[in-house]
Symmetry: C2
Subunit: 282 residues, 2 copies
Amino acid sequence: MIGGSGPIGVFDSGVGGLTVLRALRSALPAEEFIYLGDTARLPYGTKSPESVVRYSLQCAEALIVRGISCLVVACNTASASALGALRLRYPDIPVIGVIEPGAAAAVAASRSRHIAVIGTEGTIGGGAYQTAIHRLDGGIRVTARACSLFVAMAEEGWTEGPIAEAVARRYLEPIFGTADGAPYGTPNGTPYGAPDTLVLGCTHFPVLAAAIRTVLPPRVAIVDSAATVAAAVSRELARTIHTQGSGGVTWLATDGAARFARVSSVFLGQALRADEIEIVDL
Amino acid sequence: MIGGSGPIGVFDSGVGGLTVLRALRSALPAEEFIYLGDTARLPYGTKSPESVVRYSLQCAEALIVRGISCLVVACNTASASALGALRLRYPDIPVIGVIEPGAAAAVAASRSRHIAVIGTEGTIGGGAYQTAIHRLDGGIRVTARACSLFVAMAEEGWTEGPIAEAVARRYLEPIFGTADGAPYGTPNGTPYGAPDTLVLGCTHFPVLAAAIRTVLPPRVAIVDSAATVAAAVSRELARTIHTQGSGGVTWLATDGAARFARVSSVFLGQALRADEIEIVDL
């Protein structure tokens, strides 16, 4: 555990952050985790920044009182709006969001210096990835697009097949051109500086990565925010003295244990039972 | 105005109820309306019944203090869970939900005595249409299915074209068979008692009616909850003494005026400006 004896706390607006938890458990198999899904108030993506900050502080407090030693904000919308407020409120523990690691991985991956970012309306409209990328390299061009339908498709479990690919094509072809490399509306050749990196800027999207891959030109690298945040937490952990736990997870949600358990399998790759999930009131 | 001098209050979890408001204004062009979209807490469809009752009472109170004389619950999830609590709290004004009028219209329309209902997870899982239909006629068979993706598609404005039709086909073909009349998995003929009526049990769905129509066999009648609730309010109004207003609407939302204004045009058939929408705190 990081900088103390408590578990790693992870919160999200719902089940999407389970892709981050899955990556964390894979990277840090002996750590203890507490996962909180604020299912009573999902999605954060369409809420105002003020509401998202308030919700995030409430989620964090529920984890802090359970003795966490590190806070992972496994929600792009909350990372975009609330990271500053959370670090101010809890200066003594590391607070790690998903935006900064994803932005850094994208900047490292791009050769064309043109990065595309997809996410919810809140993440994209707030410009958080654009800001984080430009903080690292002001000369990089960023093309951003909200892909709201991907969230519903992921939760429905429609993660592959013709509909998933058609939706991915409708969102992504205007950015990348067709999968055979011809840019959209320009039949021949790839223009200099076309985007060569796609950031999956919503924790729901990694489960759609295979369908997204089918509509992208081969030159495009996909940056998965779940994998990049797990790597960032591992680096943080390597810097600090920590003792290890038994790899268990405590499951918390603010509403709907049955739905949480059912939908979670898509994101977690493991079935939960509703009675494993404790409902908490924030 | 109904049973008093105030406007008609309409609330929904977000913008979907604007299809109901649109039908109400069309049926009652001289009435005054107040519309409240609880956009800070949408969607209700994935929340627990207890949360939906609490939110609905807060929405109703915000309208009552503005002097409404009739309350329209333009949200299937809230109608399913909160109508009893609302009628108990406000016994002096008519409280009209969208479930009962839709159920009655479906029972009147069906000849095969087999009705299909689609809606959000909350509406379908709660069994409200099934209960309302069986209260009218216990011998009718009801087939229900949650169609979560339709909500996101409607809000994205993807209401027609190949993706809308492919999604409609994936949800509806297992219920109705193919559009040429052959039941799913049974190549020849229509079985006795196949559903001949489809209730659009979510206020988002009327904007997808044309796409839904293309995948249904011609025998199937579509019951639109927005139109049926407008007819129910008109009947209620005809029973009571009322004075008429100037046909205006006061717009309230709990979050995100800019998004409300932008998305509303799909459902309302009319563009709103963000500065026309007052943000209220419940």
